[in-house]
């Protein structure tokens, strides 16, 4: 585990917060807190369908509960990055940084997203052909070595 994008929620936690959310849903009155806690777990799930559900819940919160906007933006960025919607993720990061340009936590997330895009860009190139594969491998090795220093 190297950064927050690798983190996976435990199934007990996901179920625990899902239960609370559904109970409130049946009573027709979901609190911001319950919806956020459930969404926060969903975007850390290993299943893309869960992550997408989490993103929907966070978008809803973003539009209905202005006090929590920075939290929702942050987890919208994480959720989108985890399903490889990197451009959307960076869009949320940028919206956040417009309000808090020096936020270290969000700047670190931005670096992690860029790192993943770079890494997967190389893999994409490698698939395109054998020669590129060899080149991509060399470049990748170079980057790996350089980043170790």
């Amino acid at each position: 585990m190297e950064d927050v994008l690798d983190e996976i929620v435990s199934s007990e936690d996901l179920q625990k917060f899902e239960r609370v959310f559904h109970e409130q849903l049946h009573q027709g009155n979901v609190s911001h807190k319950a919806q956020f806690e459930y969404a926060w777990c969903l975007v850390r799930s290993k299943y893309p369908t869960d992550i997408r559900k989490g993103i929907l819940l966070l978008k809803e919160l973003f539009n209905s509960h202005p006090e929590g906007k920075r939290d929702y933006l942050f987890y919208l960025a994480i959720g989108n990055a985890r399903i490889k919607e990197y451009n959307k993720a960076l869009h949320y990061v940028k919206s956040f940084l417009e309000i808090e340009p020096a936020n270290q936590q969000v700047l670190a997330l931005e670096r992690q997203i860029n790192k993943r895009m770079e890494k997967e860009g190389l893999i994409g190139m490698a698939v395109a052909g054998g020669a590129v594969l060899a080149l991509g491998g060399l470049v990748g090795l170079g980057i790996a070595l350089a980043s170790k220093k």
């Binding site: 585990m1 983190e7 936690d13 956020f36 926060w40 920075r70 939290d71 987890y75 270290q104 936590q105």
Partner: protein, 213 residues
Amino acid sequence: MTSGPYNYSYIFKYIIIGDMGVGKSCLLHQFTDKKFMADCPHTIGVEFGTRIIEVAGQKIKLQIWDTAGQERFRAVTRSYYRGAAGALMVYDITRRSTYNHLSSWLTDTRNLTNPSTVIFLIGNKSDLDAQRDVTYEEAKQFADENGLMFVEASAKTGQNVEEAFLETAKKIYQSIQDGRLDLNAAESGVQHKPASPGRPLAAPPSSRDNCAC
């Protein structure tokens, strides 16, 4: 190709907990980046940091989960306590209320971690001695009564920050050596890394296809 042999032999998981505004994230950044961040905004959820240290000649990677102090994150951040080998519990020496809440933080920690988890109490902002609201002596007594390690530290000047993280690691390492901490237990918060996991141990010595030479 991407992963050479690990350059560390253990991973220890830490959590940092305490009231909001006591300086948890600043302590983390002082430890991982040797920098003080003035006007640090409130952490969202949890922040993650790592650093490789050395204890008794062994390289150890610390994986540190810095939890948000705001109440609305509390329910979910509790799940990060699970499997922590070390817990840094922080209060602000200039704000008595953050010290008064320690017993509730301690109760949570004891309930959610395992008996071998090392708990280290940090009285942060020791550079603001003129505004002190909690004496060293009473905090020391609280720590002793509850079997906690303790220092006053300053994320701003860096004083004792290194010590708090390293002393916690030494204590955990000692527990491993003494056999009090079971590496095979699911939630010990410690992972042992074989020296070069790139090569399966069972592989015959003649297979040198993936030799890195």
